[in-house]
């Protein structure tokens, strides 16, 4: 149970998140899938920081958490604003800019 476990778990979770982002139509669930991807990268960084005996991975994970928090807050505000004007939560219907 060395680095193979870390690599396989984080790759699987990352791919599940990417699949959810491509397939789901609800923007909230798309955001949750982005969270899954960010978390899998966090797990990879922390596992490798344990293997390599260096703290840089944990600092990186902390920075990723800060970026993810900012991203979630702005994204949810955007979703809320879109919902207030359109009363619809399907990303396929947001095609006003389509030529």
């Amino acid at each position: 149970m060395g680095q193979e476990f870390i690599l396989l778990v984080s790759a699987t979770v990352f791919c599940i998140g990417a699949f959810g982002f491509m397939v789901r139509k609800n923007p909230l669930i798309m955001f949750m899938s982005v969270e899954l991807m960010l978390n899998s990268v966090n797990f990879l960084l922390i596992g490798y920081s344990n293997i390599l005996k260096s703290l840089d991975g944990q600092i990186f994970a902390l920075m990723i958490m800060a970026v993810a928090a900012a991203e979630v807050v702005v994204g949810l505000a955007l979703i809320l604003t879109i919902f207030r004007t359109r009363h619809d939560l399907n990303v396929d219907h947001l095609d006003s800019l389509k030529g």
């Binding site: 790759a11 599940i16 949750m32 899954l36 978390n39 922390i46 390599l52």
Partner: protein
């Protein structure tokens, strides 16, 4: 704790550690599948909370106590509560799911990416990067203090930039929620 049966000996602590690691990792993957496959957003959010808690346990087992605590407080606490508030505000409508060509394409693409990533698990030991902190020193001063020392000395500029990012996000939210969007008036001719 080494248990020796004569013809077969094993380390009980190591086997327990590996078993817990496998169980929690498997639960994390299953919870991630639940997030993606549930049709109702409220169940997805609950599965995501479970996934975060599993990841926090994994962080603890890899010796990152401070990050585990931050994961629980920031992610499983603050961010997910925000998600649940928004779901309650917007009304979690169920989404009808059907398997069509689009999903098949996404599945095949993701399968390819996953196979490529799984190949990367076959790389041998990489060149070790030696940090300032080794295991003994971290056990000496504690994980949170070691992270603080590293963060405020070597990584000070990224830390300040992250605080700027959070400030910009706050200002952006105020702009988004204060100035409401008015649809443009159609010109009458």
């Amino acid at each position: 704790m080494l248990i020796d049966l004569g013809w077969f000996s094993f380390d009980l602590f190591q086997i327990t550690y590996d078993g817990v690691l496998l169980a929690v990792g498997g639960t994390a993957i299953l919870a991630a599948l639940g997030v993606v496959l549930c049709s109702s957003p409220i169940y997805s959010a609950l599965y995501l909370i479970g996934h975060m808690i599993c990841l926090a346990i994994l962080f603890l087992m890899y010796g990152a106590e401070f990050i585990a605590a931050v994961q629980l407080i920031v992610y499983a606490g603050a961010v997910m509560i925000l998600f649940l508030f928004i779901i309650a505000l917007l009304g979690g409508k169920k989404e009808s799911q059907s398997f069509d060509f689009h999903k098949f394409m996404a599945l095949s693409f993701i399968g390819t990416v996953l196979a490529e990533l799984a190949l990367s698990a076959r790389v041998g030991p990489t060149r070790p990067v030696t940090g300032i902190f080794d295991e003994k020193l971290i056990a000496d001063v504690g994980n949170a203090k070691a992270i603080g020392l590293e963060l405020y000395s070597k990584h000070l500029i990224p830390f300040e930039l992250a605080s700027c990012l959070l400030l910009v996000a706050g200002v952006g939210i105020i702009c988004l929620s204060k100035f409401t969007y008015k649809p443009p008036q159609r010109r009458s001719n």
